[in-house]
Symmetry: C2
Subunit: 193 residues, 2 copies
DNA sequence: CTCTAACGCTACGCTACGTAGCGTTGTTCC
DNA sequence: GGAACAACGCTACGTAGCGTAGCGTTAGAG
């Protein structure tokens, strides 16, 4: 990263970094404008000149540091492709950045702008990519013609978010393949755990 | 409801009611100990003598007023039973009490006690009941022997929570039957919308 | 080297938290 | 009926964080 040249950009970068560090160190609840100001060395008034809310800052920081997992390999089968993608998402959400992301998802319940930002940058992209995979499976004849890709994809990723955010159950290593097998495989011949 | 006899119980009931009214009127963010004190006429100090946190109060109020939807009819088929139950949950979550419940689910991310309370009173009961239905379907031969009821049930309800809490997509009237058909029906012959 | 946009600093009023101290009142029990 | 006490109400406090106003200071473009 080349250091920002203008004074403004230096301040903005310092703010994003302080917000991110605070988020990872002490959680979203500890991220306050005052704490960011203190940690970054940027005056509170200056922060307010650049961002309207704390969440906007954190979303900016996230954009720089948290890449959406969209890329799909092509393993040759729908089940394989989806398992691989789910596995990647599970891994990502288990990192400290992933947990930070999840806390923003939670926070977005009260912040429509944040919700829009997260949906556009992360959720929609991944959903669209997953839907394409399912539809490819339908074209190949691996899945029946009556398949509704959107509904199935929401069920797959919904299960992840549900267990992480709502019911707080862990996601075992086998979860991705188990989930795909149960939801998509007509014969439900996948292994159990 | 018989009016509470002791002075203490009167105060407690007034607090629960004020918290609930505030929640429905102005959302969880507006529910503060100070606001509850003002609205209920109960002194702030007295409130702190009975509850440790705002969330504990709201959870108490919820317990009195929001009944978990556990009852399943027996329609004769797994698909029918699950569709009916999902439909009931969707309806419940669409009420103002349901939205209040959802905001508590969100809040529980930061409050382990609240999370435990919600899981025990609502999520676990419904999950167990749904799992029983699926297992009944396996016994009847409607679903194959390799079915993992827990995984499937989390996928079904996960889809609901995912769309309501995370991606903020609406749940159309046909959603319950569509979801069940897609996730459980091997032939995916259910209707589309 | 000047000029101006952008920053830093201090201070303010507001809301909410959670606690301490003390006066007041409802209830119970004789 | 009256005493005793448990529980409530009230006031006040210190803390944190919000968002804004006013004004001094400085970086950096031209």
């Amino acid at each position: 990263m080349t250091p920002p040249s203008t004074r403004s950009e230096r301040a903005r970068a310092a703010v994003r970094e302080a917000a991110w560090d605070l988020l990872l160190d002490r959680g979203l609840r500890a991220v306050t404008i005052e704490a960011i100001a203190e940690r970054s060395g940027v005056a509170k008034t200056t922060i307010y000149r650049h961002w309207p809310t704390k969440n906007a800052i954190v979303l900016d920081a996230l954009r720089e540091r948290f890449e959406p997992t969209v890329a799909f390999g092509d393993t040759g089968s729908v089940l394989g492709d989806l398992t691989q993608q789910l596995q990647a998402v599970i891994g990502l959400l288990a990192t400290e950045a992933g947990v930070a992301y999840l806390s923003l998802v939670v926070e977005s319940w009260y912040d429509p702008d944040l919700a829009t930002g997260l949906v556009e940058r992360y959720l929609d992209r991944r959903r669209t990519a997953a839907i394409e995979v399912v539809e490819r499976g339908v074209e190949r004849g691996e899945l029946s013609a009556g398949t509704d890709a959107g509904v199935l994809v929401d069920a797959l990723y919904g299960a992840l978010y549900y267990r992480l955010l709502v019911s707080r159950q862990p996601l075992p290593d086998t979860y991705a393949s188990l989930l795909v097998a149960q939801v998509l495989d007509h014969d439900r011949s996948g292994s159990r755990d």
